[in-house]
Structures are given as C-alpha cells and as structure tokens.
Amino acid sequence: MSGDEAMMAEPATTGVLAQDQAPKAAQTRSVPGWERTAVDEAIRPLAVSGMLTCIAVSIAQFVNAISSEWPGTFFVLLVLAVSLESIHSRRLLSRLNLYPRDRFRYRFVEWVVILLVVRFGPYLKYGSERLWADIAVWSVNVGAFFDIGFIVNSLLIVVFWALANTLSQALDELEASPMERRLPVTDPNHYLRSTMPRHGRINRQASLSRITGVFLGGGVALLVIAGLVQVDVRDLVTLQHLRSSGIILNVLVYFLIGFLLISHARFSILKANWTIQGIPMLGHVAQRWLALVMIFLLGLGIISTLLPVGYSVGILETVSTIIQWIIYALVQFVFLILFIVSSLLGLLMSLFRGPEAAFTPPMQRAEPPPPPSSVSAGPAPWWQLVRSLIFWTVLVGIIGYSLYHFMGYRWAFLQRLAPGVLLGWLRRIWRGLRRGTGRLATRIRQEIARRLTPRQAEGAPGRLRFLSLHRLSPRDKVLYFYVSVLRRSAKQGFGRPKSRTPLEYEETLRRELPEALEQVHELTDAFIEARYSAHELDSSDSTIAQRAWRSVKRALSGRRRRAARARSDAVVE
C-alpha cells in the first residue's frame, strides 16, 4: 500500500465528525501558507504580466519593422512594469479598503507617474540632446508635449493596465470567500450571509469566461500582429508570400502561460466549490493537476510537431490525384478479371479444336492504361503527396469538426432562421412593434390625461373639453352618461366614494333624487351592463340610458336650484 492509499484509508476520513473536519485538514494539507502566498503574490502577477508582455513584444516588433526609431524595448519593459503595478495596486487597494477620495488620490498619483515615464522614458534611447530640444519646444508650445506618439503610447499602456487589472481581479475572484462557506447559525455573519444575493456566492464561471475571453482575444491580436511581422503586408494582399517556418518565441510563451493560467483558474474554481461544499480533497490532487497539465501540453506539442504544417500539393490537385489512382486501380482490376476470364475461355475453346490448336500462340494480356501522371509539372515524390494528403485530411477534419460543433451549439438559433420561420419571426417582430407603439401611444395619452385632470378639476382656464357623443360607441355613451351623473352629484356634495359599488350608490341617488327613482335605477343598470358585460350593446341600450340620464340630470338641476334657493332664503332670514 502506498503512502497515499494509507492516508486515504485511515479512519480519520470516516464518520460524521471526520466529514466535518476533513475540509480544513485537506486544505491545510494540500495548500500550505507559503505556497498560497507564492501563488498570490508572485506566480499569478508574473504569469499575467508575462502574457501581456508577449503581446507587447509583437507590437514592438511590428512597429519597429515600420519605424526602427521607435523604442520597442522600452515599450516592452514598460508594459511589464505597468502590468505588475496594476496588479499590485489593485490588490493593495482592495486590502486597504480606502475611502473613495483616498482611492482617487492614489490612482491619480499612480497615473501621473506612469504618464511621466511614458513621456520621458523613450529619451533613454533618443538621448539627452533631443530631450533638451523637445523641452525647448514645449516651453514655447505646451501642446507639443502631447504629441501623437505620446498619446498612442499612453493609450496602449492604458489598455495593458486595464487588461492586467481585469485578469488579476478575475483570478482573485476564483478563490473561496469566507462568507461563502456555510456558517453555523450562531455565527454573527450567518444572517448577513443568508440575506446576501445568491447567499454570498460568487459567479466564478463568469470570471473564468472573462479570463478565457481575454486570453483568446489577446491570442487573436497576438497572432495577427505576429503574422504581420512575419509577412510583408503587400504580399499579404496579393497572397503571394512564402511559407515562414520557425518558432515564434513570444507566441509560444503566451499560449503556454495562457493554458497554464486557464487550467489553474479551472482548478481554483473546483477547489473553491469543494471547499464551500465541505468536500475533503484526498491525496495530491493539486500536484497531480499541474503535472498532468504539463504532460498533456507536452504530449500534444510533440504530436503537433509530427503533423505536416504545409503542403506541396494543393487540395484540389491532391483530390484529383487520389481519384485518378482509384480509377487506375479499378481499371487494373477490371483488366485482370478480363484476362482471367479470356484465358479460361481460350482454354475451354482449345478443347474443342483439333491438335493444331496446340500451336496457337499464348494469349497476351491486354495493356491497361498507364498510371496517372503526377500532379503539376514535374513528378512529385510520393511522400510529398502523402504529407499533403495528411495535411489536408487533418485540416479538413478540424474545420469540419469545429463547424459541426459550432453550428450545433447554435442549432436552435439557426432553426429559428429557417425561411418559413423567418417570415413568422419577422411577422411577430412587426406585430410586437405595432403593439409596442400602440401601448406607447396609450401610455402617452394616459399620461397627458393624468396631467390634465388636476387642472380640469381646478377649473383651469383654457382647457379643452370637446367630446362628440356621436362618435362614441353605445357602450362608451352609457359610461359617459353615468360618469356625467357622478361628476354632477359630486359637485352637489354627494359624490360616490370609491369604496361603494354602483348598486350601493344607487341607494344614495334614490334618496337624494326621489323624483327620478326609476331613471336612477335604469341608468345604474345600464352602467353595470356596459361596464361589466362582454356582449355587444346596441344603440337602443344607449338611447334608454340617455333618456334616463336626461331625467336624472334634470332632477339634479332641480335639486341644485332648490338648494340655492334654500341658501338664499336662509341668508335673507
């Protein structure tokens, strides 16, 4: 039994108590303090800065290819320093937890220093004479200080600074936070944790996606710039450039660090999840992880070097040659069969002839067509054809596989784009737009009405109160009649409280308007029907309601006059 097995089999991992204690034990066993510090303070910052510096190297090479005067080495070193500074300052600020004002002051000072370095650093290459000359120019024209070179350099530095910040933050977010761990009910932070969104859990997958996005996006930029360094742009346009071989060191380092970083991020996420869930990690998972990543990448690299990276024979020519060879083989086979059959027939025929047949000359095999001529002008060696064949097969396989899966992930979306579905989709969009604009118009009308209502209640001058009864539908007419009665009754001091139903309010109206008992009932009934029924109302309904409305209106006017007269009498007395 190995040491690992013995450790795993020991009774310490058993039982309820051991289950609870195991995570701590596993954590302390697998990640010692010094290792954690080394990873946080040195390895991660160096890895991130190294990746970004690799991109800077290609940028420097590209710009130097255009203008050899540009201080490329300084730029590379500056990117390295700024990336380290960005990571360090972010960690420092998150640790110090400063006030926003102090944080701003820190950043301001930091950026002033960085910009000064960007401005004056290149003079290490240009020399002091040029510095003095430029200072003289700046003293006359301050705007000359911010020349195009300085602005471009500053922008590039800002980009690298931000990328380093993003990557560092995303990597730090992968670690398990103490708030994420399940706390006992007696812990003061238990309630705080339970009220936090997602119970304080961090979306680590988003952080990993961010790291992967930066890595792959940076990789694309790096490849394009490195490609531009290798190939003349004019040849690129005409596609007449030659193949370039050899390892591009900074690209190799970039992707190596990138893969290790992604793998490390993946392990950090898993470890954080296991820690939060309290699952013990047995054995040397961390150490084996690193070893397996290295072995896997190394093995993959070796396999890759064995595969062909170029071709002597084009894909169409290769396919053509293969088809010709297949046809040649088939023809050979047919001729062989024919030869055998004709030989047998000849033998059979000779049995029926006389002895003179023995002197018949032997049958000659028909000449098959010659083998297919080699592609292109000269004869290509067979291994060139094989290498080209492997190259194209692998490449077509990769592209086919990638496209298949790429489409597979988007299949649901692509199905929605089918012609019939597309029309339906467009129709739905159009309907949605119409519905949306209709709703918007309604909202606007309601908003205008809402804003105008207080003014109307106050009797503000200049208000527009034009309403054509002829244009209203029978239902709207009935509603209008009832609301009109409500408004008038409210003016006389017995309006309908919101808490009362129309039927309850009918009692009030009947009490106040005894001369129009029937009409009040008719109007209330008509309103209830118009307001709460689903069937169509015709003009006869609105006519009945209108008749009732007029009577009620008259009764209301009479009541108002009577009240006014009573008031005037009271005043006279």
Binding site: T13, T14, V220, F259, W274, V309, Y401
Partner: protein, 393 residues
C-alpha cells in the same frame, strides 16, 4: 467551449492567411485540447469501477464500516474525480459521503466511512455518483453507478428467559395443567428405577456398574411448535403510535422467535406486512422450522418487512391457522384485539391450539382485554415499551 471553437476557426483563417508554420502547430494544439479532452474524459470515466466492502447484516446499535474501492481501470489518468455516495438518512447524517480524489492509470483508492445502524430495516446503499472534468474547463462528465448493495438491520432482540408460553402436544397424558414432555435426545442424568418406568429408558451400563436398575433422565420439552402471528396493518394502529407500536411488535416477534429457537423449538411466522422482495403478496408466511439458519431467515424477514394496509389481521389469522399442526402454540402479536380477532382466537382454541395474545397498542384499558382474553382461555400480555419485555426475562 464555444469560445474555443470560435478561436480555432479564427486561428485557421490566420494560419491560412499568413502561412506561418507555427500557427498551424498552434491550431493542432488547440484542436487537440478540444478533441482529446473529450475522448480522454469519456474513456477514463467509463472505466472507473466502484466496489463496496462491508458486512451486509447488522443489529441495532452496531456501526458498520464501509470501504469504497474506487479503481481506474483505464490507461488514462483522471485529474479529479468527485465521488458522491448516497446513503439512507437513517444510517448516516448527512446522508452522503463525498470525496475528491485523482486517479492515475490503474490506481485504486479506498474511501472509508461508517454506517450507524439505529433502526431495523432494509436499506439500499448508493447510488454512487462520479463526476469528473478536463483540465481546462471545457467539459464535465458524470456517471451514476448502481449495483444494488443493501444493508439489513435486524430488529432488536431481547433475550426472554421466562416466556411462559403454553403448549400442548399429542403425546403423553401427564395430568398437569401444563404438560411436560421429555426429549429423548437430551440426556440430563440417571436415577434409580421406579415402578412404571419404561424399559426402553433403562441405562444398562450404569445398571451394570451400580448393580441396581438405573433409568435415564431427560430434559423436559414443553412445546414442539409455535407460530407467531404479527399484525402490521397500518390502519389497525393508533395513528400517533403507529411507528413505535409496530416496531415494538416486530421487536417482540423477533425476541420470541429467538427465544424459542434457542430452546430448540420450531417457530413459524405469518405477517400481513409488506415484504419488499415480494411486494405483490398480501401476506408473508414462513413455515415452522428450527435451527440457526431458520432464525436468520426469520430475522431477515422481520428486518425488511414494512407496514401495509391491504389485509386485515383477523383474516390473516383465520387463513394461516388452517395450516398449523394441531397442538401448537399461536403467539398473536397485534396492536389491539377487536371482536373479529377474538372470534379467530376462539376458533383456534376450539381447533386445539394454545393461544397467547400480546398487544402493543390497546385502544381500551388493557385490563378489559386481559379479562376478555381470559374468558376465552387466552393468555394476554401488554408490551408498551421495550422495557416491558423484561417481565419475561
């Protein structure tokens, strides 16, 4: 993962555009990572084997150590493997055992945990959920393993030394209320010959030695066959005590069976509970038998049997008593004795059986049950708690 594919396509375009060899190497590496991780994971996790090592029977109060042997049968290593073993909550809290490990080719790791057998029952262990993933976060894969392992926890057995069950046999005519029979296979000693002793029982060697007739003395045997009727009809128990009273009934049945078999008597069992192994049967019956193996079979049944509500107990007693041998003892263990059960017991008495009634959840005062039972010649006992079985110790 979609990022990766997109990047591979872009990389292909860049490589084809610039015709830089190194970019093609990168293309191969990226594609290799994408493609080989899938193959790797698929193959590796399919070859993981999990085996449980444990004792599959236990008594309440025992702790059963379980060892999970997790073996990677493939040539490919697994960078991480999450093993989640599900366990019934009655045996372990929390109801799982989880571990993270990594497995090299053909490596085996042993994970250990313990099950705390607190209640009788038939418990299935597992399933084991395995989860693994690649090194770059491109994909995860899981697998569920179910191998039907189970643990049987027997009911508690309380040693009964003085059960006092009545019995009757067709042999002999000793004029005592409780007839005593002698077992000729169990020699207890010798004594001097008395008038009426059978000549077959004379111990000739001892007679020759002592010079006077000596006869063999045998151990008494009071019963030759007992049958236990156990009521596990859920509806016949008080809802508030259904679990405790039914468990008590099972413990009583197991204790009596154990006691009788220790006394070398034949015991059978009829029960209207649900046996998971034969769920379609309305009742379970074990015919009378003797010996350790029979006791273990009986305890197995009592360990796994569950409450049911399909068959009334009186019906079970009526049906099962038809197959009993005359003169045996029927031990009726039930929640309460209603009229139908008393009718069945009276019938058994008339058929020549001796009947003992044990109630665990009487709905009327036990004195009434006891009085009514004594009127029909049935000995009644009440078991309210497991400690009540002490009256028979």
């Amino acid at each position: 993962m979609s990022h990766f594919l997109g990047f591979i396509l872009v990389l292909f375009i860049v490589a084809a555009l610039f015709r830089v060899d190194f970019f093609f190497y990168l293309l191969y590496i990226f594609f290799g990572i994408f493609f080989l991780t899938k193959l790797w994971l698929d193959r590796a996790i399919q070859h993981v084997m999990v085996r449980r090592e444990y004792v599959d029977r236990a008594f309440p109060g025992e702790r059963v150590p379980v060892t999970l042997h997790v073996r990677n049968g493939s040539l490919l290593p697994l960078p991480w493997l999450r093993v989640h073993e599900s366990v019934p909550i009655q045996l372990k809290s929390p109801s799982f055992h989880r571990s993270i490990l990594s497995l090299l080719p053909h490596e085996e790791v042993r994970l250990s945990y313990e099950l705390d057998c607190r209640r009788r029952g038939y418990y299935t262990l597992g399933p084991v959920l395995l989860e693994s993933g690649d090194l770059f976060g491109l994909r995860d894969q899981d697998r569920r393993l179910e191998n039907g392992d189970a643990l049987l926890v027997y009911p508690r057995i309380i040693a009964l030394r003085d059960l006092g069950l009545p019995a009757q046999t067709p042999f002999g005519d000793v004029p005592t209320k409780q007839r005593i029979f002698e077992d000729p296979t169990r020699l207890m000693g010798i004594r001097e010959y008395q008038s009426g002793d059978s000549l077959r029982h004379i111990h000739w060697k001892a007679t020759a030695t002592t010079g006077a007739l000596q006869v063999k003395r045998f151990e008494p045997a009071i019963s030759i066959e007992s049958h236990i009727f156990l009521n596990l009809n859920r509806d016949e128990y008080t809802p508030s005590r259904v679990h405790s009273a039914s468990e008590l009934a099972i413990v009583t049945a197991a204790s009596i069976a154990h006691h009788l078999i220790e006394k070398r008597q034949a015991v059978g069992l009829s029960c209207n509970g649900l046996d998971p192994f034969s769920a379609d049967l309305l009742s379970v019956t074990l015919p009378c038998g003797k010996g350790r193996a029979h006791l273990m079979g009986l305890l197995d049944l009592l360990a796994r049997v569950q409450l049911d509500a399909r068959m009334p107990f009186a019906e079970l007693v009526g049906q099962a008593s038809l197959h009993l041998n005359w003169g045996g003892t029927a031990v009726v263990i039930t929640a309460d004795a209603d009229d139908a059960l008393f009718d069945s017991m009276i019938l058994m008495k008339r058929l020549g059986f001796h009947v003992a009634l044990i109630v665990t959840d009487p709905r009327m005062p036990f004195a009434q049950v006891e009085r009514r039972a004594s009127e029909v010649g049935v000995l009644a006992h009440q078991v309210w708690q497991e400690q009540d079985l002490d009256v028979w110790r």
